[in-house]
């Protein structure tokens, strides 16, 4: 495993689109080659070297490459976009689209992330020590293919519209979430350890939502079925099981109608 360290030296005056900060782009490259990789600031093409101090070198493949990003990256977007392996550690609060369309490897953010982290994610892992913004693990605007696989863990709170059009994978939120959880979901699992507000599971066809705290306003399309005992993340407890969204179409499996499942802890 080789390590590349990026430390921001020149803040962009606009936002920096830096999808090249990924083990796939860095693999097999020296610090000098990495510095020459392009980025965009508005409609101007710049390089990573224009904005970052770069040391170390990439491993032979993405899997053998670790990237450490230091400094104030609150104006840097697309870190780890489409990465297939390796590791990124961000010591800061990156802007939007962290790990978007990620396929493998691991991203750890020792801070907060802005919106659209894990958009259309297919595999790998994202761990966020702080809070996440809106549209975490959601589909790209207009798309019906949201998060398909992998795992996102947020230790703090998350914003609205998490897991929109989710089809697979898992999102675990340590704190509270804003409105719209797993809207249109057709699979996958979302665990909220704190409280949820409203519109939880709207137009959900399939998949699971587990809420430990309160749900401020329950969707009218969810019906209480029964109480169940579950073990979630090492915690055993009794949950009320609701099924929905009954306003949506639902497929049948072995003669039984499949609903989205919403569990709420007593």
């Amino acid at each position: 495993m080789e390590t590349v360290t990026l430390t921001i030296k020149n803040q962009p005056s606009l936002y920096l689109e830096a999808d090249n900060i990924s083990p796939d782009a860095f693999a097999g490259k020296s610090a000098e080659n990495i510095a020459a990789l392009h980025a965009y600031e508005g409609n101007t093409q710049t390089t990573l070297g224009d904005h970052f101090e770069i040391s170390g070198k990439g491993g032979a493949t993405a899997t053998e490459t670790r990237i450490i990003v230091n400094g104030d990256v609150s104006k840097v977007k697309y870190i780890g976009m489409k990465m297939t392996g390796g590791e990124i550690v961000v010591n800061g609060n990156p802007d939007m689209y962290v790990g978007a369309w990620m396929q493998g490897g691991k991203i750890t953010v020792k801070g907060n992330v802005d919106a659209f982290a894990g958009t259309g994610m297919k595999g790998g892992e994202i761990v966020i020590d702080g809070d996440a913004g809106n549209y975490l693990g959601a589909a790209y605007r207009g798309d019906w293919r949201g998060m398909q696989g992998g795992k996102i863990t947020v230790k703090g709170n998350a914003g609205s519209d998490i897991g929109t059009f989710m089809n697979g994978g898992e999102i675990v939120i340590g704190g509270d979430v804003d409105v719209h959880v797993a809207t249109h979901a057709e699979g996958g699992k979302i665990v909220v350890k704190g409280n949820a507000k409203s519109r939880v599971g709207g137009q959900m066809v399939e998949g699971e939502i587990i809420v430990f705290g309160d749900i401020e306003v329950m969707m009218p399309g969810f019906i209480y079925r029964k109480d169940v005992d579950l073990e979630v993340d090492g915690i055993s407890a009794r949950f009320a099981l609701y099924e929905g969204d009954i306003g949506e179409r639902h497929r049948k499996r072995k003669g039984e109608v499949i609903y989205g499942k919403l569990y709420q802890k007593y």
Binding site: Y140, G142, W144, R249
Partner: protein
């Protein structure tokens, strides 16, 4: 204006009967001329390359409200495919519903210089023309839709051909339209009542008229006027297993009617995207190809032309004035759906669709389109389209050409399908060893389409006097080539001239051209009844006044090319 000579290329021009001979092509003042008329031309060296007239697309959805709805509700169609401004090229984006600029550039890159927008809702003609205006390079025209229009339904119910013709003439002028388009005749109006017309004798609710009466009446009105193009129809029952009988019934409505107007076309009916209308079986399980039955009819009847509507096996955006069909589709794939009713005129729906090679039905649809092209006896009457973007984006034309020209490429596809055996069983493609020649491709993409549109006097050939629209492709017909070389060559014109202006030089777009909008001005005898009916419908029903309806002035059609038709006799 500049003079050019395109030297030493292999020329394919079915109108002049030139089949790959090395001939020089001369351009002067925007037209083709004899080489002897040039004084000091710039030379384009086409040695080892294929030279054809600019291609003419007879049916695509490239401008107007439903195209723009597709763009608006599919931001994901632009994901990762936008390109910034470069040289003379503006910013571009989109795959199945590209921006207007990308539309113009992508057609030019394929050697296309004229494109017909196949369905213009008259009420939104202004929007359609604004998009056409913003599409660079290519000449365009738009077909207003008539098959569910209340005026037409009321006149034809009483078989009033002359009134229908007067109304058509008025609407073509009001909307700056080119031809009479019919989409699911009566069915879209029925959709306003939650119903459909599934065969040509299924009556339209309230109006008490059948699709057969609408289609036959519109053919007769079209020939009464003697318009450049024939009536252009998308028949009832599109996309359903067993629908080939409806298609044959629709074809038969053209029998016994002769083309008028002296435009050089032989057909009185153009049936579009016939692939969607050539299905056997009675459910998706026993779904099968009926292309031989369809092509038997087409081959033995001169007064019909068709385009194939080839499925390209891409993720695309379907859009049609066939409102009930789009509802059917969204029920099938559960993807987002846009639907609209266009007052007295038509309706429309838009749904994204993924034609997957792993789905048996999609693979059968793919085979049917190619069968239609390969079973064609007269390539001057059977044209290449993808009904863009319904069966696939137009940028796949080079790939469709490859499939039609290469049995090897077709068999690789057939053998590679997930349900290969079932697909081969349900279709006829595996047994067809025909490989179309470049001459036949030129017939299906320019000579034939120009003729069917009544534009043989402008486009489709390199004949002196015609518009100097010509493409040079980096393809040497005398050399060994892999199937993919065909696709590559037809997707990247080496040189392109539009009306004598160089648009592509050495593969680079160097000009945004001087695009024109064609429309038909049909002069008819005064018809006070129709004018009174128009006035009354606007007062009673339309949400806009007549003054806010008509397409007039430089803003909408800044560079018109008017084709005059005298129907006063």
């Amino acid at each position: 204006m500049a003079e050019y000579i395109i030297k030493n290329g292999f020329v394919f021009d079915p109108v002049l009967g030139i089949n790959g001979d090395k001939t020089d092509v001369a351009i002067k003042d925007g037209k083709f001329v004899e080489t002897t008329q040039l004084a000091n031309p710039k030379t384009i060296d086409a040695t080892g390359m294929t030279v054809m007239a600019g291609a003419v697309d007879i049916h695509a959805h490239v401008a107007g409200p439903k195209v723009n709805t597709g763009r608006n509700f599919r931001p994901e169609d632009k994901l990762f495919n936008c390109t910034p401004r470069r040289g003379v090229e503006r910013m571009q984006g989109g795959f199945s519903v590209p921006t207007t600029f990308k539309t113009g550039y992508d057609y030019a890159r394929m050697g296309y210089t004229t494109v017909m927008e196949a369905a213009m809702p008259p009420l939104y003609a202004r929007h359609t023309h604004e998009e056409i205006r913003d599409t660079p390079i290519i000449d365009q025209a738009a077909f207003p839709v008539f098959g569910n229009n209340w005026f037409v339904l009321e006149y034809l119910k009483n078989n009033e051909i002359e009134n229908t013709a007067s109304y058509i003439a008025w609407l073509l002028r009001a909307t700056k339209g080119y031809a009479v388009k019919v989409v699911n005749p009566g069915g879209t109006e029925a959709w306003g009542w939650g119903l459909n017309c599934e065969n040509i004798h299924d009556p339209v609710p309230f109006f008490d008229i059948t699709p057969a009466q609408i289609v036959k009446g519109l053919i007769e009105a079209n020939e009464y006027l003697g318009l450049p193009h024939s009536m252009h129809v998308h028949a009832n029952n599109l996309g359903n297993p067993g629908n080939y009988t409806t298609t044959l019934d629709t074809f038969k409505l053209s029998e016994g009617i002769k083309p008028r107007g002296g435009w050089g076309r032989d057909q009185v009916m153009h049936h579009t995207h016939v692939q969607f209308h050539s299905y056997g079986g009675d459910n998706w399980g026993n779904f099968e190809s009926k292309s031989p039955e369809i092509m038997d009819y087409v081959n033995s009847h001169d007064n019909i032309t068709i385009d194939i509507g080839q499925v390209t096996l891409d993720e695309t955006t379907t859009m049609t004035a066939d409102g009930p069909f789009e509802h059917h589709l969204t029920e099938l794939n559960h993807l987002k759906w846009a639907n609209t009713d266009v007052e007295l005129e038509t309706g429309s729906g838009v749904v994204p669709y993924v034609y997957s090679p792993t789905i048996k039905v999609c693979a059968i649809q793919w085979a049917i389109g190619l069968e239609l092209g390969l079973l064609a006896k007269d390539p001057m009457r059977v044209f290449i389209t993808t009904d863009h973007p319904n069966a696939g984006p137009f940028i796949r034309y080079p790939r469709v050409i490859k499939w039609l020209m290469s049995q090897q490429s077709r068999e690789e596809m057939l053998n590679g399908f997930k349900h290969s055996e079932k697909v081969i069983d349900a279709t006829h493609l595996m047994g067809i060893d025909r490989e179309l020649s470049l001459y036949e491709i030129a017939q299906m993409t320019r000579a034939g389409t120009a003729k069917a549109l009544g534009l043989g006097h402008m486009y489709g050939s390199l004949k002196p006097g015609l518009e100097a629209d010509v493409a040079v492709y980096d393809f040497n017909p005398e050399q060994e080539h892999a199937p993919d070389d065909i696709e590559k060559a037809f997707g990247n014109a080496r040189h392109l001239f539009k009306t004598g202006m160089q648009i592509i030089n050495e593969g680079e777009i160097v000009s945004n051209g001087n695009k024109r909008t064609l429309w038909v001005n049909a002069r008819v005898n005064e018809n006070p009844q129709v004018m009174r009916d128009v006035k009354e419908k606007f007062l009673r029903y339309y949400t806009v006044t007549q003054n806010n309806y008509e397409v007039a002035g430089h803003h909408y059609v800044p560079n018109p090319y008017v084709i005059e038709v005298d129907a006063t006799q």
